[in-house]
């Protein structure tokens, strides 16, 4: 059964001179335990589609359904807190928090006890290959690959079933790209998450179970 489904989703926004149909009637179903790669040229609507699935925005027409419930009718704060995690190209770690605190953040938002939150965060950091010495560092002291792994650890810590990654390897070198891609794949295959990756990198896309190509707001 699909964990997230798109039902004739349309979304458009107005630029200065024109109305852009970023997502143009997409229907699709995503399942747990699989890695999906969404590829396409810039402006094809990949990131917009991801934002709709993360309930960061709502479709103009159609529905994004999570476990059968439309994002319009659900508590989106709760959804973002408990069910979905987003990994960004530019990592989006909080610069003033340490690595450990960044990973603890989603747990604290879920009112997890501080001791438990710390233990879980440490475990997630180990899962992405970051040992104890990284815990007290601030994001600025890490390489891009390390920051992205922290971001993945944060996504893991949230316990979300849906992992949305927007160009997660866009700022990484080849070695780190490989590592991050492997982690995302293992999340889906080992932990039965639904991992949806928006990427330009065909090597990353090649690791996905299904590759969806977007063009002019449509899946082709």
């Amino acid at each position: 059964m699909s964990i997230i489904s798109l039902d004739s989703v349309r979304y458009s926004y107005k630029s200065k001179y024109q109305t852009v149909n970023a997502v143009n009637g997409i229907s699709y179903e995503f399942e747990k335990g699989l890695v999906y790669a969404i590829v396409g040229s810039s402006g094809s609507g990949k990131s917009t589609l991801l934002s709709l699935m993360a309930a960061l925005d709502f479709p103009a027409e159609g529905d994004v359904n999570v476990d059968g419930t439309s994002t319009r009718s659900m508590d989106c704060d709760e959804y973002r807190r408990d069910k979905v995690a987003v990994i960004y190209q530019n990592f989006n770690l909080l610069a003033k928090l340490t690595v450990l605190e960044n990973v603890e953040l989603p747990l604290e938002l879920r009112k997890t006890h501080k001791t438990d939150a710390a233990a879980t965060a440490k475990k997630m950091l180990r899962n992405v290959g970051l040992d104890e010495e990284y815990e007290r560092r601030f994001p600025a002291m890490l390489s891009g690959g390390e920051q992205q792994r922290v971001a993945i650890a944060r996504a893991l810590a949230s316990g979300a079933d849906i992992i949305l990654a927007d160009e997660p390897t866009g700022n990484l070198d080849e070695e780190n790209t490989e590592k991050v891609a492997d982690i995302l794949v293992s999340l889906a295959h080992d932990q039965k998450k639904c991992v949806i990756i928006v990427t330009h990198d065909m090597n990353v896309a090649a690791k996905a179970d299904e590759v969806l190509k977007m063009q002019d707001g449509r899946l082709v």
């Binding site: 926004y13 990131s47 917009t48 991801l50 934002s51 709709l52 993360a54 960061l56 925005d57 704060d77 709760e78 959804y79 973002r80 807190r81 408990d82 987003v86 960004y88 989006n92 909080l94 003033k96 928090l97 605190e101 953040l105 989603p106 604290e108 938002l109 879920r110 949230s158 927007d166």
Partner: protein, 362 residues
Amino acid sequence: MMLKFAVRNWWQNLIGALLVAIAFVSVILFSQNIRSLESDLDRLYETMTVDGEIIALNASDDIVLTPEKIEQIVDSSCVKNYGLMGEYRIDRWKTLRAISSITIDPSLSLRIDGAEYAKGITDIFADGTYCVLIPRNMRFDPGDTLSLEVGTRGQILSLAVGGVYGNPESAASDGQILYCSLDTYSRFLCEAGEPCTYKAMELVFCNLRELDGYRKMIEGLDLTEENAQLVIHDRQFQSEVSGFRRQITYQKTVLFLIILMTIVISFFFAVLLLRGRSREVLLMRTLGMSFSEVFFWLLFEIFCQALIGVVLGLIVIVCISDNSQTGLVQGLGIAVAYIAGGAISLIRIVRKNSFSGKNMLE
């Protein structure tokens, strides 16, 4: 977590706290200065000697003109010097009684002429607000109750205020009730400063507070042809008291402006500080923080700034001021104003960043 963010953003919060501290100290110093000026004015009211006195009867109950009270009226320098028959302080509206039916016992007039009367009854008018002046041609008997139908406040005022013209040289002297404003009075002064057209009663008061209260009372009275002029002599009031009042008004205006400026500055300061944190706000929203949680998270930092600012300000005030308690409420008002300004800007910022997925993902 909120505390963690507040600590990590320590330099921003310190700037905010310093801003609050400066405003806090300024407001308290201004408040203390205003209080000091008001005290000076009070002392001036209490100590300044003026040219005459009010004669009155204390009328906390219905006015009953007992022989003793009548004695008080006639045993007065005003009666002696200016022919004023009497004034009655009215403490409660219901004690005002009509004076129209009262006429003065001719024997009192007889007693006025050439009488030697004692002074020193001014204390009974210490807090007086309203007066009834009994014209000379009115008659009343010892033991009579003054009765006055009280209608509107204006009516009370017009009936309650009056003076007795007492120029023995004038044809229009006896029995006239006189009213006037200060401006009117000035038109009757000769070059030497003495009334020339009339030898009007100079109601000059034991202290300027009384004079001021009396002056306010007669302002706005509907003067008719039946009413001649009551004269108040207040040159000292005009000069010294007005000077104090101008200063106080000025300082209060500045105080108000400081509070207003604090709100405006705190608003823009918060906008400035939080603009750099809009991505942080967005990220927290994508992690599932609700609008209100984000709002209160940032408001907590504004609150911390205000709190630290107040503490810093208090330390400064204790060090530099003898009276650290004065103006504390106004100082705390600054902290509240700062939080209010911050809250308004927060609503604007959090709303603006709550939120388009495009902001976060692009």
